[in-house]
């Protein structure tokens, strides 16, 4: 698939600055942005949100929703003004709400819900003999939720090879580095021990769609995507306290410069 996007990644990073003058989680959105952008430009088969056989995208780490709004807007799939994000009286909640738009597949925000819903959607594809795939974006911190592993077991038990999990693995969660909070000996082995096919991705635009195409195709697939929290705003990149960061208006020119200097990945 190759869908035309109105905005570039750089445009969207700048849009996000203006959307997060009063609302936090820009660092998470900047971490997830490239993945969501790549999916909607080159991976997901979505011609219409009414198409029964459209690919589904589930944003399980709902706090990164501003990135999703921008990408959907860029694809012509969102009817609202992105700058109404989190404003009183608007429909653009700071966590995804299914009532906002047909293009928001599920409500999310409490972590660890998305994968089970995606399992249901993937099972339904098998029942209905449809070929759509279900993509779930989760955080590495989110994987501390027990419900993730319930759903992961069920997905492999039912051989849901139409289910693809992308883990936005920036190594940080709300209060600290993931490895300081809940270290996992080998995150990769953990998924493999749940009988998932595993891939890793260091460069989203070059590697992600290949990983999806090159899969073995008989198991659910998890892709650990190594990302940078707050990517584009130098002073918050990979910082512990970036999770609650709100953009100070006077710093926008400096951040725009950062964003323009960012090497294209």
């Amino acid at each position: 698939m190759n869908y035309k996007m109105i905005s570039s990644l750089e445009d969207i990073r700048k849009q996000l600055l203006h959307m997060h003058l009063e609302t936090s989680h820009i660092a998470s959105s900047l971490s997830s942005l490239e993945i969501i952008y790549e999916l909607y430009s080159n991976v997901l088969n979505i011609d219409s949100m009414d198409a029964q056989n459209r690919d589904r995208f589930i944003l399980s780490k709902g706090h990164a929703v501003s990135a999703l709004y921008c990408v959907l807007k860029s694809r012509g799939l969102l009817e609202y003004n992105i700058y109404d994000f989190a404003k009183n009286g608007s429909m653009l909640f700071s966590h995804p709400d299914r009532r906002t738009s047909k293009s928001i597949e599920i409500s999310a925000g409490s972590l660890g819900h998305g994968l089970a819903i995606a399992v249901g959607m993937a099972l339904a594809a098998k029942y209905n003999q449809l070929s759509y795939r279900v993509f779930v974006l989760m955080g590495d911190g989110e994987c501390e939720e027990g419900s993730v592993w319930e759903a992961a077991s069920i997905a492999s038990r039912f051989k849901l090879n139409n289910l693809i999990v992308l883990i936005d693995s920036n190594g940080l969660q709300d209060s600290d580095y993931v490895n300081n909070i809940m270290p996992v000996k080998s995150f990769k082995n953990k998924w493999e021990s749940f009988d998932w096919e595993l891939a890793e991705c260091n460069n989203v635009s070059k590697e992600l769609s290949k990983s999806i195409l090159n899969r073995m195709n008989d198991k659910p697939l998890a892709i650990i995507v190594h990302t940078i929290k707050g990517k584009g705003i130098k002073e918050i990149e990979q910082q512990i306290d970036s999770h609650r960061f709100i953009v100070p208006k006077e710093k926008i020119p400096q951040y725009i410069k950062d964003i323009e200097e960012l090497e294209t990945t």
């Binding site: 597949e105 599920i106 249901g120 419900s147 319930e150 759903a151 069920i154």
Partner: protein, 306 residues
């Protein structure tokens, strides 16, 4: 009630190929015939209640009609957040059937008793709470749930409840069924205590008391109109529920009485807000908590004399 439920689901699955049942490793025997008739449409996802709700939401969003069965205690409290967000917030018409509700399996202790389930589920928007009073109401509730556009929680028991209604009784979610019209006192009962209500009526008839009986199978939305109409016939309303007193049916009826300033006395009978301190099967605990027909009738008589 279990048999009535399983048979009804078979007949629904026969005519609707989109019906799927999710089990969380309980109820395997109950659904044996269903599984043999529709092996792909009854899936056991293992001991994972939270995932059951999420998976049901995903299946439903993609066109399936999903029933989840488990023990009432586990499939309400364990996965409350999934019910809140995945079902109610997204307004998805998944049907949850909770078996062994109330103190059905009393001797198993607090973990297996569902005595607060009506209270917590009815606090959520976009979900109906239905506690059928007999096997006929179970089948009617499941049939009626097929037309719902939101979620529902159907709370059942398995104490050999005798059928109270004819199979063709008029049933609508949200409308109570008048079983007997009476004078002065009306019992509104929900769930399996319908048989208890009838036994109380029979005890009273000996003393020429004619107690009215209403089966309030739907606790949410409560049948407000019925409660308002009772003013014309009765002075006293008695509520019966195998659930913590004040937080389920009785609480809902009290709200209606207060909201409309109705000149009705309300006497609630239910379970105390406490965990069991001793082992007891259902009969033992019903005795202990004063919920036998004899104990309730005696209490009603004493209250009348006061």
């Amino acid at each position: 009630m279990n048999k009535a439920m399983a048979n009804k689901l078979i007949s629904i699955a026969e005519r609707n190929k989109d019906v799927v049942i999710i089990l969380v490793d309980l109820g395997y025997k109950i659904f044996r015939e269903f599984r043999s008739r529709f092996p792909d449409r009854c899936i056991n996802i293992g001991i994972a209640e939270s995932s059951a709700i999420g998976i049901a939401a995903g299946l439903s969003l993609c066109g399936k009609t999903v029933f989840i069965y488990s023990m009432a205690s586990f499939i309400t409290t364990r996965c409350f957040e999934q019910i809140k967000i995945d079902l109610c917030h997204q307004n998805i018409p998944v049907k949850i059937i909770g078996g062994n509700s109330g103190i059905t399996i009393g001797s198993a202790g607090a973990t297996h008793q569902a005595i607060e389930d009506i209270a917590i589920i009815k606090s959520l928007p976009n979900i109906c709470v239905i506690a059928p009073g007999d096997p006929v109401e179970v089948q009617c509730a499941i049939e009626a749930s097929m037309a719902l556009t939101s979620a529902c929680y159907i709370r059942i028991t398995k104490n050999g409840e005798k059928p109270v209604h004819h199979a063709n009784v008029s049933f609508q979610i949200g409308l109570a069924i008048p079983v007997h019209h009476g004078k002065q006192i009306a019992i509104i009962s929900t769930g399996n205590l319908l048989n208890t209500a009838i036994a109380i009526r029979n005890l009273a008839l000996v003393h020429n008391f004619d107690i009215g009986i209403y089966s309030m199978h739907t606790v949410k939305p409560i049948d407000t109109e019925l409660i308002r109409r009772l003013v014309n016939k009765y002075e006293i309303i008695v509520t019966l529920e195998e659930h913590v007193k004040g937080t389920g049916l009785g609480g809902e009826v009290a709200n209606v009485i207060l909201e409309y300033n109705l000149p009705l006395k309300l006497w609630q009978y239910g379970l105390p807000n406490q965990y069991p301190e001793i082992v007891g099967d259902r009969n033992y605990l019903i005795n202990q908590f004063g919920l036998t027909p004899e104990a309730i009738y005696k209490d009603i008589l004493q209250k009348i004399k006061r």
